[in-house]
């Protein structure tokens, strides 16, 4: 297992490097626009544009820019380690802004993930166990609703009902835990719930389907024949096997959300990674885009590795050489 893990980590580094190189290439070789023009004021003559490109480091060839990026990533730049340069829009170091925004995105994801796991898996179990009953129908109705309702609509409705009309929850924005723990928690409720809804619906359906399939297996029949309590049959024997695909999905969903839950963050004015990188892409703000892509790529490979390790625990048939 250790050897397997080390091999995977080495490959992870290679994958991340390839991702950053492709991102660099896309923005350099196929630029959506010239960022220098935005900052050249009303006299964008060649000398002014050249000065701006020099300020941004865009005057060098692609391979030189990429080499400087890699070097700074490893050794750090004037703003610290890792060296990710500065945002063209704000001149704020990308590293500082990432460190500022990442916790907000992570707490949003963590809160939503806890919710969608608990709600989704629970509903899936109940639905599978009570298959064909009204409970099952209601559960799948919820799943259908969760999958169908657009996230931005859910968010706006939630704000309208719980903040504007009922006044029981605060509106948009993020409050730091250090400023006011109670407000921090209250501000988390709506965005986490809204983000969790879609995933809870998926997970409910997935858990239900997998569990139904597993409960039809011979070894489950054997377990029941041996006189095991039904709860033990389902939770220990049935659920464990049916959770493997759920684990896979969970890892990928977390990894992808680390790139930013864009819609939720925008609706709730969350000031996280997602809304930041979308604006950066529109504005050809290359350092921000590369920084976020790098972080998201690292998240994906790490989550993939963790998922694979968890497989080995969940399914004894899986062993890694």
């Amino acid at each position: 297992m250790l050897a397997y893990t080390i091999r995977r980590l080495i490959w992870a580094v290679v994958v991340v490097l390839i991702v950053t190189m492709v991102t660099f290439a896309i923005f350099y070789l196929m630029p959506p626009g010239d960022p220098a023009i935005r900052f050249a004021g009303r006299a964008p003559n060649p000398r002014v544009l050249d000065q701006i490109r020099e300020n941004f480091g865009l005057d060098k060839p692609f391979y030189q820019q990429y080499w400087i990026f890699l070097k700074n990533l490893v050794t750090g730049d004037e703003y610290g380690w890792p060296g990710l340069g500065f945002s063209y829009d704000t001149r704020v170091p990308v590293r500082n802004e990432l460190l500022d925004r990442l916790p907000r995105t992570l707490i949003l994801i963590a809160g939503a993930a806890v919710l969608w796991l608990i709600v989704g898996v629970t509903i899936g179990i109940i639905s599978a166990v009570r298959r064909g009953t009204l409970v099952d129908k209601a559960a799948m109705g919820f799943a259908l609703f969760g999958v169908s309702a657009p996230v931005f609509w859910l968010g706006l409705v939630a704000l309208f009902v719980f903040w504007q009309k009922l006044g029981i929850l605060p509106g948009t924005g993020y409050t730091a835990f250090s400023d006011d723990p109670k407000e921090w928690f209250l501000h988390l409720i709506l965005p986490c719930t809204v983000l969790a809804m879609l995933y809870a619906a998926f997970y409910a359906r997935m858990t239900r389907g997998n569990l139904l399939e597993t409960l039809g297996e011979d070894y489950i029949r054997t377990a029941r024949a041996k006189g095991l309590p039904e709860r033990k049959v389902i939770m220990k024997h049935g659920l464990r096997a049916s959770l493997t695909p759920v684990v896979t999905m969970f890892g990928m969903d977390i990894a992808l959300l680390i790139g930013g839950a864009v819609i939720t963050e925008t609706v709730f004015n969350w000031q996280g990674i997602g809304s930041w990188v979308i604006r950066a892409t529109t504005n050809s703000n290359l350092p921000v885009v590369v920084g976020v892509v790098l972080m998201a790529a690292i998240a994906v490979v790490i989550m993939n590795l963790l998922v694979d390790i968890l497989y080995a625990y969940l399914d004894p048939r899986v062993r890694y050489q």
Partner: protein, 637 residues
């Protein structure tokens, strides 16, 4: 089974219905339909400044998505109207404005200068005396001197600090370009004989020089702090105020060395800008025509959710907005009598236009350009913007506040209700070489599939069918390309784009020079490849430049207005200069015809019931922060 299927269908239908409800409603920017309300014309719009100037409280403003500063809030290079509007609270250049709406708001008045300057040497020398007692915010604490003003210009001339958009205005100062060229460290044409006196020597007269001295880049900067900013934009993280307000946390700056200077806490470029009173500001030094300084504090907070902006302002959870209204909000506030007074509309001195490249067929023929002006349905374009509330039909280049009274009502290409006059257009087109049978329809191959570049915002998408339909009536068919970053293409003369649908232009200061010089002077066209220009029509391009850029000129060349611009800008008398610009506007519209102008835009702002006093600042095209006030008893949390 049947019941299950029925239930599933019902739930699916419910979900689809909710999705349709969520996606509908004309939420997109500029999404057609208009409001049906008659547009107010003139300066007052729906709202005028009213109410008591209550002192105290916090004025809370939500800003949509981002500040979008161009030089990270460093006044030397910052080139956004929003940034300039914030600077009216923080910085005191030699000159300023009254920060009111209308023509009165476009007149420069002394600010840091104790009085109007002494102008001598045929308009080439300006001598100012500084007011006593104007001090920097802590921790700098000292009085502003003439050397601080001179330092601001040295910084402006040095391209390192991002003053890219400004330098052309100040190249008239003797020795300014020597700093830009690296031949000098300071601008030789600026003298500071003592701490209270500053003298500007110009190479040639500039009748609008006082306007140029009202721009925030010329406000004094303390060198002992700014020298630590090594790159463009760095100083924006800790700008030192000499005005009535400062960035919160400025007083906590440690300026004992460059290494100890850190960004001030009251400004996070991605989240907020908070301003508080400058404790060193002395109201006795203020020009009473310039500022009222009512609130104790300003909070400008970024909000990525536009709907949330307007929900909050309606509930007075915030007081004002810098969020773009959608047609939904505009309709609500124009049709509800209770809400109407909270919608403020003022012309923001900008013109939006369709641009025609004078070097590219079929627009290299003046008859085609005139025909395009006759045929264009301008009301249709304004409808795509959101209706008549958004602005007035533009009939010539300069917005009304920048032209003399003699141009009031001037419309060289009239049409019924500004919807286009096809017959007049055909009559003009029939004189064109591209109408081979002179029937008023452009039938040469050059009129087919003409490349048209426009942005991809909701508004611009709505404009495309109106433009295509109008030009189609005179036989011009367009190959329209929607681009997110249209400016990278249409500003590059080597791209040879014949037709641009998206551009707009606003004044830098209330003189037509800021329009005509950048938009129609042939000297701003880059002489070599790699540069861009806002003179998209390429008015005044000379043979050598065209050859260098690989552009073929039409027979007879392209008309130039360079000498007209020089003549007008050198006119010292304000009234005569205004008349001069008015004549140039006419010449461009009738003889050169580079544009089809279609809208003079309104700035629209929705405010909360908690605002007790509100004013529009004509000089910046934004709220007059220096005059707003709140009624704290009406503010909600």
């Amino acid at each position: 089974m049947k019941r299950t299927r029925l239930l599933a269908i019902l739930v699916l239908a419910l979900g689809l219905a909710m999705t349709a409800a969520a996606c509908g409603g004309g939420e997109e920017e500029g999404g057609g339909g208009g409001t049906g309300a008659a547009a107010p014309s003139g300066e007052s719009g729906f709202g005028t400044a009213t109410g008591p100037a209550n002192k105290g409280g916090t004025y809370r403003v939500d800003v949509e998505s981002a500040f979008d500063f161009t030089d990270a809030f460093d006044p030397t290079g910052e080139y956004t109207a929003l940034g300039w509007s914030f600077y009216t609270l923080m910085l005191r250049p030699l000159m300023t404005y009254k920060h009111v709406a209308g023509a009165d708001g476009n007149v420069p008045i002394p600010d840091l200068a104790a009085e109007e300057p002494e102008i001598s040497d045929g308009g080439k020398t300006y001598t100012f005396t500084l007011r006593d007692g104007v001090k920097y915010a802590p921790p700098v604490d000292r009085e502003v001197t003439s050397k601080d003003v001179a330092y601001a210009f040295d910084r402006l001339a040095d391209p390192t600090y991002g003053g890219a958009g400004y330098p052309l205005y100040y190249q008239a100062i003797t020795g300014f370009t020597d700093v830009a060229d690296g031949k000098a460290k300071t601008v030789a044409g600026i003298e500071t004989p003592d701490d209270k006196t500053i003298v500007f020597h110009l190479d040639k007269p500039a009748g609008d020089f006082l306007y140029r001295l009202a721009m925030p880049a010329t406000a004094p900067i303390p060198e002992e702090v700014a020298k630590c900013a090594k790159k463009a934009g760095d100083y924006g993280r800790y700008p030192i105020a000499n005005g009535p307000y400062m960035v919160e946390g400025t007083d906590k700056l440690d300026i004992s060395s460059c290494n100890t200077i850190k960004p001030v806490s009251g400004y996070n470029p991605e989240a907020f800008l908070h301003l508080v009173r400058n404790p060193n500001y002395d109201e006795a030094t203020e020009n009473p025509d310039a500022r009222e300084n009512n609130p104790d504090r300003f909070e400008f907070n970024i909000n990525s959710n536009v709907d949330d902006c307007f929900n909050k302002v309606k509930e007075a959870i915030i007081d004002d907005t810098l969020c773009g209204e959608t047609p939904k909000q505009t309709k609500e506030y124009t049709e509800n009598e209770d809400l109407k007074p909270l919608l403020k509309l003022y012309p923001d001195d900008s013109t939006f236009y369709l641009s025609m490249n004078l070097t590219q067929p079929p627009f290299d023929d003046v008859h085609v350009r005139r025909a395009a002006n006759f045929v264009q349905d301008k009301v249709g374009l304004i409808r795509a913007w959101g209706g008549p509330v958004v602005g007035d039909v533009a009939t010539h280049i300069l917005p009304p506040s920048l032209v003399p009274d003699s141009l009031e009502g001037y419309d060289p290409y009239p049409s019924p209700d500004h919807t286009g006059d096809v017959e007049a257009a055909k009559k003009e087109m029939a004189q064109s070489k591209y109408d081979t049978d002179q029937d008023g329809i452009c039938d040469a191959p050059e009129c087919k599939n003409v490349l048209h570049i426009i942005g991809d915002s909701g508004r611009e998408r709505g404009m495309v069918p109106v433009i295509e339909d109008s030009l189609g009536k005179i036989g011009i068919t367009l190959n329209t390309r929607l681009l997110g970053d249209q400016y990278s293409v249409i500003l590059d003369p080597t791209k040879k784009v014949p037709f641009g649908g998206g551009p707009g232009w606003g004044k830098d200061y209330p003189d037509a020079f800021t329009f005509f010089f950048y938009l129609f002077d042939g000297r701003v066209i880059p002489k070599e490849k790699g540069g861009v220009t806002y003179n998209e029509p390429l008015v005044g391009i000379d043979d050598a430049t065209a050859k260098s850029l690989g552009i073929d000129l039409p027979a007879g060349g392209v008309p130039s207005v360079n000498s007209d611009i020089d003549n007008c800008v050198g006119t010292a008398d304000d009234t005569q200069r205004l008349e001069c610009w008015g004549e140039l506007d006419k010449k461009l519209m009738e003889d050169v015809v580079p544009w089809v102008p279609y809208i003079w835009r309104n700035n629209s702002t929705i405010i909360a019931p908690s605002v007790s006093r509100w004013e529009f600042d004509q000089s910046t095209g934004n709220q007059a922060w220096t005059r707003v006030a709140v009624d704290q008893s009406k503010q909600q949390k």
